[in-house]
Symmetry: C2
Subunit: 150 residues, 2 copies
């Protein structure tokens, strides 16, 4: 039945949102840091030094947000920034030693958190989930931005 099928799809969307909305604040409380910020820092763990544009693309958040995060992290002594001497428009970002230490601890918390999220879900089921989410993600990417009503 078409109606049923649609309502079920609607519910799925709600579920996706719900999971995100439940997970984000809990993640933050468990790990002591916001998800996007940890993502940012995680990237920085991998790369020694990186410029902000690159970082923005990797983490896929707005450059304004990147700037503001880094500014705060700089003030807290977690990262250092310096201009690229060969192009003064770009700024390089780098974790401090203290920063690295901290993040290792955050990542441990994150690991615990993630394990709980997938408790009782088998490898195979996660593979199925990953496949389905990938397809959903691709569909979302294809959606045209159209003119809103009015």
């Amino acid at each position: 039945m078409l109606t049923n099928s649609y309502q079920e799809q609607e519910k799925l969307i709600l579920q996706l949102n719900e999971i995100y909305r439940q997970m984000s604040p809990k993640f933050e409380r468990c790990t002591g840091i916001s998800q996007s910020r940890l993502e940012l820092l995680h990237k920085l763990m991998e790369v020694d030094e990186i410029n902000q544009t690159e970082l923005r693309h990797q983490v896929n958040i707005d450059s304004a947000a990147v700037t503001r995060h880094l500014k705060q992290l700089d003030e807290k002594g977690v990262v250092t920034r310096r201009k690229n001497p060969e192009d003064n428009r770009v700024t390089f970002v780098k974790l401090t030693e203290a920063g690295r230490k901290k993040i290792e601890r955050y990542c441990k918390e994150k690991e615990t958190f993630i394990k709980q999220v997938f408790k009782g879900i088998s490898d195979q089921e996660r593979a199925v989930l990953s496949d389905l989410l990938t397809r959903v993600e691709s569909n979302v990417k294809d959606i045209e931005d159209e003119q809103p009503i009015e």
Copy 2:
């Protein structure tokens, strides 16, 4: 292999976030209204009149957010509010006629949107997805809020 399995789980979490972050703004542009606000209005479609606490529980967002949404929707003439004469603490909310008309149009847009999200995904696959998400959601709900680092 444990490491692999963990990284895969990490990726799944990223995927969930990514989908939400991609979907929300697109949804908003396609339908012309934010997801949470439409959820709110959708509830109002079903119930004639409802008080804010009830609404908050149904939609599961903060009461401060509910208040602010309704205030704006009131100003736009989409909803009306009145005090419960039998208990002046609670306020009843109700869609106006104009509001209902508008929302019907929004819902049409939403339907188109949702169909695109699940394009190429069979009924059976959606059922599997629903089951997995439900279990993930339940796991998330069970996560204790612990003390953050530092």
